[in-house]
Amino acid sequence: MLDFSAFSLFDAAFIVIAGVTVIAALGVVIFRNIIHSAFCLILSFLGIAAIYFQLHSGFLGVVQILVYAGAVAVLIIFAIMLLMNQDANRTNQTTPNSKQLFAAGGITAMILAALTAAIGFTSWPAGQLQSIDNSLNLLAELMLTDYVIAFETAAILLLVAVIGAILIARGVDDK
């Protein structure tokens, strides 16, 4: 596996992007200040968008940047600014119960080990990454033919969720 003769610029780009993404994701979980966690989360979203661009699916990369690094990040940071009323360095604590923390780490390590073993033992099909990006045409065709009902349902779901979010966050009038 560590055969560096076939090492290309593509592989180097993957390693750098994946490293930045994983380190940023670790930052989300490790930092004690939740604002720092939120900015790490944005960096991690941008890294995942770079992975999409590297996989030649540019449309999904743009959607990722718009929806996650744009809308979701702004929503989270606004919520943090509305909700934090204490010392910023104590806003993102781990659970005080060390037994619970140990159990969380144990479960995570077991699941990661199981997934890694499963990936190692699977015989993957030897597919090659196609360098042409025709996914935009394919996606548009799928969305408006075979998956049109799912597409419309997703639209209604978004509308209902946004109206529901406004109603829940506004609260009930006492009058």
């Binding site: 939740i34 991690s44 799928l142």
Partner: protein, 102 residues
């Protein structure tokens, strides 16, 4: 050299980090952020499998877009619920979220 297993491995690592965040954080907003990480990890798997195995069909990318839609709904409703509880309890600590307990 870099192939489909490496992308799947990246997805697994991100999923595990998100899972640890969900299980170990006390701040409700931090738990939502970790859930977003887990959903993104799944999206990487969808797109990588689509591109490496069946790149003449875009169903994997379509599923990833639906996951993004549902994740956006989830974060909007989740943050609204957290704000609603914060009005009652003046706290976002998950151990204070016991309004439905009797």
């Amino acid at each position: 050299m870099i192939g489909l297993p490496h992308y799947i491995l990246l997805g697994s690592v991100l999923f595990s980090i998100g899972l640890f965040g969900v299980l170990s954080r006390r701040n409700a907003v931090a738990v939502l952020m970790s859930v977003e990480l887990m959903l993104n990890a799944v999206n990487i798997n969808f797109v990588a499998a689509n591109k490496f195995i069946a790149s003449d069909a875009a169903v994997g990318q379509l599923l990833a877009i639906f996951v993004i839609v549902v994740a956006a709904c989830e974060i909007a409703v989740g943050l609204a619920l957290i704000i609603a509880v914060y009005r009652q309890r003046r706290s976002v600590d998950l151990s204070d979220f016991n309004l439905l307990k009797w």
